[in-house]
Amino acid sequence: MAEIVNMPKLGFDMAEGTLLRWVIHEGDQVSKGDVLAEIETDKATVEVESTYEGVLLRQLVSQGTVVPINDPIAVIGQPGEEVTLGANVASEGALKKPIATEQAIDAAGGYIPSPEPVLEIQVLPVLAEAPHASPLARSMATEMGIDLRLVRGTGPGGRVTKKDIELYITNALVPEAAKSPSQTPIAGVAPVKTFIRETRIIPLPKLRAAIGRRMADSTQQVPHFYVTHEYDVRALTDRRKEINLLLEEDDKLSVNDFIVRAAALTLLEFPNLNASIDLIANTLIYHGEINIGVAIAVENGLLTAVNHNTDQKTIYQISSELKKLVLRARDGKVRPEDIEGSTFTVSNLGMFDVDQFTAIINPPEAAILAIGSAKQVPVVVNGEIRIGNRMKATLSVDHRISDGAEGARFLQALAKFIEEPLRLLISF
């Protein structure tokens, strides 16, 4: 019997995904684990693997289509098998959409029978209130990054046509000064420009939009406070050198690998900072796992790659896992588990010669640790000025979950691992 492949939910806040590219073509053989298609979510490009064996009988959506999660995208079955979409999809849909049933309660409290599930892939309009526009005007607007809501349609019924887009562009390109007839050029000013760089307008990349949304939510809704601590990193620097002498070039440990493990071990003592708040249920969630997220710069933004159960891994394990994560993230090939489930994040700008910085908490986490550069600085030891190796770290904490004293104690506790890094090698 033919199996329906649905748009997978690849993240807790994923509502839809764009089917970027079909990897398997209709009629091709599919094994379990084969990559069927590439899907762009808010966060990344993800490969969808088949959980079925057989032949890809039908691709239900074309490339570039935005598909809500759990909507069918493909049918896999035996060669020559009849594809009876109606029956398959109806039964699947009935099982998989309990939420729809919950919502179908009318004002009087009675149940409204949920409508028959329909196999129709809804392409969500890019702009909710966009006016009617011809297909050509739409494609021109998309290409040029024009918000159709700003364009006045002069076609039948106010339809935006090619002419309106062209007029809009012409008006947008004429500088204000040129529109005013009374302006006279100022004499005697030497021309300064030899060329003008082009102003470019591009559609907001999905990742950029997702980061923007989350960071705006976080800064607006999460009351942050910040605590900064300076660490003596001479021992860490020395131990790292010693260890790296024993390792192959590709296996060498970074300062960040030490810090990630140090943070994980410190969190064992500070469950409040490995927690989330659920305002709807009015609960605090103390996470059983310590999963350290690491902010990775990628094209068009950043991703928080996740190292799971970091407290139970050696630095070497953490290091090699993070290296693979970085590669996948930069190739745009992260898997869902690579970017989901972090409980605490480390953001390190140490490689950019940064004294210190403050990071925005990655919801629903309770805190984020921002790491500056390790530097040689003058320090006072026993009343004398000496050359010391120092690194500053700033912890941003959700004040709804924790308070300043706890944040400060965390940074102090972190010191014993960072300043005595051998502990990182013996603690389990």
Partner: protein, 323 residues
């Protein structure tokens, strides 16, 4: 280049092909002694003789059946059906035999025949003798359907049709026989299945064929006086349909009107418009308009007949709609 009539162009094509290839022969009602209902084969009987210019009984099924048989034995018959309305009497032979044999017998045989016929209204021949059922015949894979709109295309395409190993329905228009156009002398084969831009323009694409090419060019001339440059694309062949020049033109103008003499429902225009929406959706700037015959059996009364047939005015109105 000599300017000759459509009738002369078709006549020349037949004559030249019969001179070139002794396997080519003509059969049909009144094609011989009388010289053809539209005088296309005048003089043929005397020159080529009764063996190669055969008068038949008024029995279309017999004409087509005989032609298919002759084609199967290796001859190249040109069967004339006086008007396409009579082709319904031979419909089974055309679509179930001529169009199918090559496919159903694994290519063991071919049916290299041409059916010449006249389509369209406008001559007060009333409902049963004035139809334009071109789209019906173009529906069948296996049958090529050619419908030229200029003398040059008529001559070049008819010669290609006679040399084609597939059965070809060659649709002429009685109202075009007197139309003159430049036709190159000598051998000028025009391939079947190629649309052509007959009049360049940039503001709107008019897609048409056969008699409506003439009407569309007249409309385009009037539009030009108003500063609207219509590009007229002539399909020339309905099957296989060449959308290339249509799409190329449409991607430039983004607006189109499709003009056909037949009825709008399930017509040539329906096919062309669907193909534009399928293959150039992102270039559509206005809903595409169809100009076609009113959905009635064509009236006999001259005024009413003209009202029911697509006119220059209808095309101008449709162009204004899309612009």
């Amino acid at each position: 280049m000599p300017r000759i009539t459509m009738r002369e162009a078709i006549s020349q094509a037949l004559w030249e092909e019969m001179e070139r290839d002794p396997s080519v022969f003509i059969l049909g009602e009144e094609v011989g002694v009388w010289g053809g209902s539209y005088a296309v084969t005048k003089g043929f009987y005397d020159h080529f003789g009764p063996e190669r210019v055969k008068d038949t009984p008024i029995a279309e099924a017999a004409i087509i059946g005989a032609a298919i048989g002759a084609a199967l034995t290796g001859l190249r018959p040109i069967a004339e059906i006086m008007t396409i309305n009579f082709a319904f009497s031979a419909f089974d032979h055309i679509v179930n035999e001529a169009a199918k044999f090559h496919y159903m017998f694994a290519g063991q045989m071919m049916v290299p025949m041409v059916i010449r016929t006249v389509s369209g209204g406008g001559r007060q021949l009333a409902a049963t003798h004035s139809q334009t059922p071109d789209a019906i015949f173009a529906h069948f894979p296996g049958l090529k359907v050619v419908a030229p709109g200029t003398p040059e295309d008529a001559k070049g395409l008819l010669k290609s049709a006679i040399r084609s190993d597939d059965p070809v329905l060659f649709i002429e228009s009685a109202t075009l026989y007197q139309v003159r156009g430049e036709v190159p002398e000598g051998e000028n084969l025009i391939p079947i299945g190629k649309s052509k831009i007959q009049r360049p323009g940039k503001d709107v694409t008019i897609v048409t064929y056969s008699k409506m090419l003439d009407t569309s060019i007249k409309a385009a001339d009037l539009l030009a006086q108003q500063g609207i440059e219509a590009e007229v694309v002539d399909l020339r062949t309905l099957r296989p349909l060449d959308m290339g020049p249509v799409l190329e033109s449409f991607k430039k103008t983004n607006r189109a009107v499709v003009v056909e003499e037949g009825w709008r429902s399930y017509g040539v225009g329906a096919e062309v418009v669907a193909r534009i929406y399928e293959e150039a959706f992102d270039y559509v700037d206005a809903p595409i308009q169809r100009v076609a015959q009113k959905e009635v059996p064509l009236p006999y009364n001259r005024t009413m007949e003209q009202l029911a047939l697509p006119q220059v005015e209808d095309i101008l109105k449709a162009v204004r709609e899309v612009l």
